[in-house]
Assembly symmetry: C2
DNA sequence: TTGAAAGCGCTAACAC
DNA sequence: GTGTTAGCGCTTTCAA
């Protein structure tokens, strides 16, 4: 059978409490006792049962991650940053995909809670109100990364999308652009709303007319990007496409290629995602360089503070971004 | 405090055993008792503690996933298939990244075992011998997806890379190619060795001279692909690049673009990964269409059989592949 | 059909 | 410094 703390105690001729102390690095153990116990642990190849430990201590060294789709580069980049820091603090992560489906999201959350995870991170995606209720009533540490929610009273890590998009738009307007389209990807409703708002304000600042159509399209993937491109190029006058999804940006690039449309003179393109795809486009695409990995990493670090009851000076972290101007814009 | 099975039992005026029976769908409960208990469960908003359950039943409805890098599209595609099926069977997944580091791999494995996961899946990547020892001695169900190990006595899901590469190479040789390079990505040593072997055999079948250089380069990402491209194009005579990594393929494509090299007349390109990137390249790239999602999904399904002690007729599943010829090859 | 009770393997007082 | 013991919240015999 599996070896338990009892077996170790017996072999080492001490009580299980002493073994437990050794296991948990409790200093109240005589060095030689410690040595003996460690020896037996090694000899018996004993590994503590984390489940029993969890039940007794109410700590599982496991955190839950709720994410729309791990196979999307945008989210998996966030996830990787998170996971690395989790590992550094000896946590493992249970990742659940929601596809932005509110029911799945809620299920995942409740499942994670019942698995007694020490904390939960929401990565990207939209968090619906019911889940927020669950969070509040669950009393479990939660951090939100790369997205936000209305009431903004949950700890979070983000960049200032509003400011970022205003900065980009201003640059574009300065160079003479008039019709700037933002194509959403439904990565996070709140976050994309910030972008829309930023764009609107930029229009207003420049006293340029804003049309609702500027922010109505959605393209989550390559083909959708291509379709939106064809549709708008056929029916509207477009100076610039700002895309949330990098994949959609590639689709647009290919659409332009096929029509012989040249960047940046006839058309300009800006990406907001900053996945590795950004470096794989031709022409090189101007983008808001969101520190995806860092958002995840900082989020996890923040969560560890809550899980360990360490003081937190700023629950809503805003990370810096940069804007990388490349040849897809003037 | 949190509500437990005791609270429900008390409120429903039954014993905790009965509540447990209701919880676990045990038929030996009078319908009205069941109804009453369910009512109380709902009223108290009771959710069983999965940790306590795990300790008592030795089942955690959690599976471990050991993967090189979740932010790599190749692996995350596998992971997504796996996760969807896991969810279907009510399992959640603990994902750990190893970066192909044997120590991390071993740590992850032992951690998962101590967390009493019901099963473990290795996705992509190389599995080192020590871990294999651990697997054997742990007695925990393990399935290997998208990679293999020497002794091949662990359940696995794969495609026949050996055959696939032979098929592609034969086509290329038929069209007159002589110098076919395979550029590895270290996704899985074993798997890439199968590819090398297949390529060698194709050379042999066609009585063409095989050079060691044909399989010596490695490119895991875009820039590496670009570098390998430049290096080989400068020093060797290359007819075809077969790349393991799609990102590397994009790098090569751009390298060719910059040098004004045209496909497929001067150079040909084949990808082996079949991530979404394949559909985002210009020119469209010929590729071995591995069913990544399905490999993960089938692997998880296989694992559920082992976890539920269902009969397994074929522990080593070989999934079909197709070869999609596109304009990057003749 | 139900209840009582013995664990599951560990942690954490508390006592010595 | 070390041992004893009472849980953690559930599942699962075993009896009734």
């Amino acid at each position: 059978m599996t070896v338990t703390i009892y077996d170790v105690a017996r072999e080492a001729k001490v009580s299980m409490a002493t073994v437990s102390r050794v296991l948990n690095g409790n200093p109240n153990v005589k060095p030689e006792t410690r040595k003996k116990v460690k020896e037996v642990i090694k000899r018996l190849n004993y590994r503590p049962n984390a489940i029993a430990r969890g039940l007794a201590s109410k700590k599982t060294t496991t955190v839950g991650v709720i994410i729309p789709d791990i196979s999307n580069l945008y989210y998996s980049s966030l996830a990787r940053g998170l996971d690395d820091i989790a590992e550094m603090y000896n946590y493992q992560t249970i990742i659940t995909n929601t596809d932005n489906n509110p029911e799945k999201e809620r299920d995942s959350f409740l499942n994670l809670v019942s698995k007694q995870v020490d904390g939960i991170v929401f990565l990207g995606g939209t968090i619906n109100d019911e889940t927020i209720e669950d969070i509040k009533s669950s009393n479990i540490p939660v951090v939100i990364c790369g997205t936000s929610e209305k009431d903004a009273n949950l700890p979070s890590v983000n960049i200032d999308y509003f400011k970022a998009i205003k900065e980009v738009a201003s640059h574009l307007f300065d160079q003479g652009a008039k019709d700037v389209y933002f194509v959403k990807a439904l990565y996070s409703e709140q976050l994309e709303r910030h972008i829309e708002d930023g764009l609107k304000e930029a229009y207003s600042d420049y006293s340029l007319p804003f049309k609702e159509e500027y922010t109505e399209e959605v393209a989550t993937h390559y083909h959708a990007g291509r379709e939106v491109f064809d549709k708008l190029m056929d029916s509207q006058n477009v100076d610039v496409f700002i895309t949330m999804s990098d994949e959609a940006a590639v689709g647009m690039l290919h659409g332009a290629l096929d029509r012989g449309i040249s960047f940046p003179n006839r058309l300009q393109l800006v990406s907001c995602s900053n996945t590795r795809l950004v470096h794989m486009m031709r022409p090189p695409v101007t983008s808001i360089a969101i520190p995806l990995y860092d958002i995840g990493a900082v989020g996890m670090r923040l969560l560890t503070k809550y899980m360990k009851d360490e003081p937190v000076d700023e629950p809503n972290v805003i990370l810096p971004y940069t804007i990388e101007y490349r040849s897809s814009t003037k």
